[in-house]
Amino acid sequence: MDIQIALLLAQDGIVNGAIYALLALALVLVFAVTRVIFIPQGEFLAFGALTLASFQAAKVPGTLWLLIGMGIAISIIELASSSRLRGGRRRLTFALGWNLAYPAVLAAIVLLAKPGDWPLVLQVVLALALVVPLGPMIYRLVYQPLASASVLVLLIVSVAVHLALVGLGLLFFGAEGSRTPAFSEASFSLGDVTITGQTLWVIGASLLLIVGLYLFFERSLWGKALRATAINRVGAQLMGISTTQAGKLCFLLAAAIGAMSGILVAPITTIYYDTGFLVGLKGFVAAIVGGMVSYPLAAAGAILVGLLESFSSFWASAFKEVIVFTLIIPVLLWRSMTTRHVEEEEE
């Protein structure tokens, strides 16, 4: 291997690593606040990319029907429960607005306004508008009734959600993969190495998202509320922070990060309905490096996973996945040596 190939591989690794880092951050966020190990994280990546691809192919993405369907389901549940709750009317109007009116408006836009002819930026915005609300909706439908369940139960349920979403992805988008056009056709040469504009887009957008998240958690009241919930659920609840709202917000962020990473990566790799799972799992390996709690360690782990993957694809391409997933073993070993066993006080 000469230096040029090494640089090329490194570039590849860092680009993938940036995507893994985004997913890892979302996983850590969701786990810290809701104790949900969010296996379906990767599905948002696929949904984001494939929804965008559907617009470009002038097709109606199936995610629209999912949005409408889940909106109706939530509305029914809220209608059934609103009579029992105080202040039910206002809550109900709010819930119906988001779960019925919003999907209806989006449906009108998608079906009537021909987004296939729109500029890329607007298509991206529409794809995000379609996919991101699925996050809090899933929280409402699946996780909110189980908020007090153990991590284990939540994990198994996550796997169930993942399966259902992968199946739906196949139904919506079919088995063949899609690629979307690059955000920028520009390319730069740096010595012997060519850096494409899309690479810079991915890295730049990832950094921007990370900085944005940092500012959100450090500066905004909601961000602080999420951090408080992560540290002590009961304490946060006593301070008037609704854990349900915190959960929905987390899922909103996770869905946004997932969909955004899908849209970023779709011009570089072909995305299939089930691509998300594998990418998400690599995000997991990174998150586990951070012990599921540390953001900087998770990000560092993600870059490590990305580099490991790209270099092993050069030396032993057939064993690329084996190598990446076996990385978890030494990491777990290290964690089990450094962590004092802490008794879990649940169930």
Partner: protein
């Protein structure tokens, strides 16, 4: 109808299956049997032990690939060649490989908190799947063909109808052994895992070992299933050992009822039949091909967790007309007792114990002694550091500095299990019983370290003599604390005060020299307190040392021989109850000073 008659009818039906059913149904039943065997391991692991693995399919793959490789490879390395002689030897090889891999994986992940094991198995199941598909001597993605059929006493099990009997025989034996295991001393230790490690360790259970046992048993069941699968299909490829199948196994266990051995069968049957049906139906409905059944499985799973957390088996069991036979109070030879020190011997000595949590000094230079045949009460306002001291003494948390001596040996820094073995037993401030288990079984956990029969003996019920003695001991302690009427009730159905008494019986079942009671009178009514005080006096008169943390002053002052008062982590007074009551520092601590 008695359970025996019912299982007899089912067994006859099962035996008659191949004689009347068409080929297709036999194949389906064979698959159900194979899947149920894997799901059974998960029942033990997830439903009973509270651990989860998504990687069971990979263990199935190890069993299948080991036998596939050894029975078809043209040139085996000399060391392995004798394994290739018979599929029965490759079963042994497959089990060895699987147990070795599971052992390593278990060592790495079982120590970590709950969710690392499933995540580890997720990643590991993934990488093994890719390994099967990419190693050339395992046939890559096309797999290996030409695996010979099994033969038994020279009789080739070439078709499904013949293999059917072997599969279901192995499954039923596995169910029987699992049931035996759960209904034993080791089984109670396994079931105690869900109640949190602290209680189990304090009762002398090696929780790390119990976790490893169920992890290995589950892996072994999976490997056997894989071995059978390989010789039924006669070829193997990576597909049935992927992560999705691993997840499906977990679904079978959970939907069937992860807490019940028969739930594995129900779950495997339901999922297998449903899958068959949905794979036919859904592509026609959606007008496209693909495994859409996973949408239904996913939704079904979420529904089960929302509406029937315990799965389908408990719902089924309610409908089946089975009469439960009345249970008799167990009887058996008394267990050997330890040599208890003479009255007046110093049992426990805490010397200058300090415990810091970061900047907070929870215990500062605490010293106290407990002698055989005395009741020492440790009192103090909330947050005085009594529970911290309790944890230092029992080995839950090591002291930052200072020493703890028990019966002349230094025990600080030792595990609570070791300390328990030396003759110290305790109750918990927040009751730690296993609510679904009977009072008798809960108390029997206390006697865990007085038995020695292992997993293998338990699986074939070869330890019934010892088991009877353990249960008889538990029954004696229940009688001693006056809860005979509740012996067979689920512990969770008792009033809180009674649950505290059950904890005392559990502690007594370990035959302790020193008893540590953390607020035993909380939640008790007046008469119950009287009875408890009576019991504690009797224990003291028999020569037991008792360290009592309590808030109820009337209870303490009427009972304790000596009192130690703590405030802000330090000892502020010590002496006879009357002395302490008139001590100005104590009065100030409890009533506030006069400014």
């Amino acid at each position: 109808m008695s359970p025996r008659v019912l299982s007899g009818i089912l067994l006859v039906l099962l035996m008659a299956g191949p004689l009347v059913l068409p080929e297709f149904h036999i194949t389906l039943l064979n698959y159900i049997g194979l899947y149920a065997l894997v799901a059974l391991g998960l029942v033990l692991l997830t439903g009973v032990g509270g651990l989860t693995s998504f990687g069971q399919a990979a263990f199935v793959g190890l069993g299948a690939y080991t036998t596939g490789y050894l029975t078809t490879a043209e040139e085996l390395p000399a060391v392995l060649s004798w394994f290739g002689a018979s599929p029965w030897l490759t079963l042994v090889a497959g089990l060895l490989v699987t147990l070795a891999v599971a052992g390593i994986l278990g060592l790495l992940t079982l120590r970590l908190s709950g969710h690392y094991l499933p995540l580890g198995t997720l990643a590991w199941g993934m990488s093994l799947y890719f390994l099967f598909g990419n190693v050339s001597f395992l046939g890559g993605h096309t797999g290996m063909t030409g695996i010979p059929p099994l033969s038994l006493f020279g009789f080739e099990l070439r078709d499904g109808r013949r293999l059917y009997y072997l599969i279901w025989l192995i499954l039923l034996v596995a169910v029987w052994m699992t049931q035996n295991l759960l209904d034993s001393r080791e089984g109670r230790a396994i079931r105690a895992l869900k109640g949190g490690g602290i209680m189990a360790e304090a009762m002398g259970v090696d929780t790390a070992r119990s976790k490893m046992v169920i992890f290995l048993v589950a892996a072994a069941f999976a490997a056997i299933s894989g071995w059978l699968y390989a010789h039924m299909q006669r070829f193997v490829n990576p597909t049935p050992f992927g992560l999705h199948i691993g997840i499906e196994y977990l679904f079978m266990a959970v939907i069937g009822g992860a807490g019940h051995v028969w739930g594995a069968l129900v779950g495997a049957g339901l999922i297998t039949v449903l899958k068959q049906w949905l794979q036919d139906l859904l592509p026609r409905v959606f007008g496209a091909s693909g495994n859409f059944e996973i949408i239904v499985f996913g939704l079904l799973m979420i529904f089960v967790f929302h509406r029937a957390r315990d799965g389908l088996w408990p719902l089924l069991a309610r409908v089946v007309p089975v009469k439960r036979s009345a249970r008799a109070v167990p009887s058996g030879q008394p267990l050997a007792r330890r040599a208890h020190p003479a009255v007046g011997t110093r049992l426990l000595e805490v010397r200058d114990a300090v415990k810091k949590f970061g900047g907070l000094v929870a215990n500062n230079q605490m010293s106290l002694e407990v002698h055989a045949g005395e009741i020492l009460a440790l009192i103090g306002p909330n947050g005085a550091g009594k529970s911290t001291l309790f944890n230092l003494v029992t080995g839950v948390d090591p002291p930052t500095s200072g020493e703890v001596h028990f019966l002349g040996d230094r025990v600080d820094g030792r595990s609570s299990r070791e300390i328990a073995r030396r003759g110290m037993s305790r109750t918990f401030q927040h009751v730690r019983l296993l609510p679904a288990m009977s009072v008798l079984e809960n108390v029997a956990i206390g006697a865990h370290q007085r038995g020695s029969a292992g997993v293998a003996a338990a699986a074939v019920h070869g330890e019934r003599g010892e088991e009877a003695r353990l249960l008889a001991e538990a029954a004696r302690q229940i009688e001693r604390v006056g809860l005979v009427d509740a012996m067979f009730d689920a512990a969770g159905n008792l009033a809180l005060g009674q649950q505290r008494i059950v904890e005392i019986a559990r502690a007594l079942a370990s035959d302790p020299s020193l008893l540590l009671l953390d607020e035993p009178a909380a939640g008790l009514r007046y008469l119950e307190k009287e009875t408890l005080a009576e019991l504690l006096r009797k224990l003291r008169d028999e020569g037991m040392g008792i360290l009592l943390v309590e808030h109820d002053m009337d209870f303490v002052m009427g009972l304790a021989d000596r009192v130690v008062v703590m405030e802000f982590g330090e000892k502020i007074a010590e002496g006879l109850p009357e002395e302490v009551q008139s001590n100005p520092a104590v009065i100030e601590a409890y009533l506030g000073g006069v400014e």
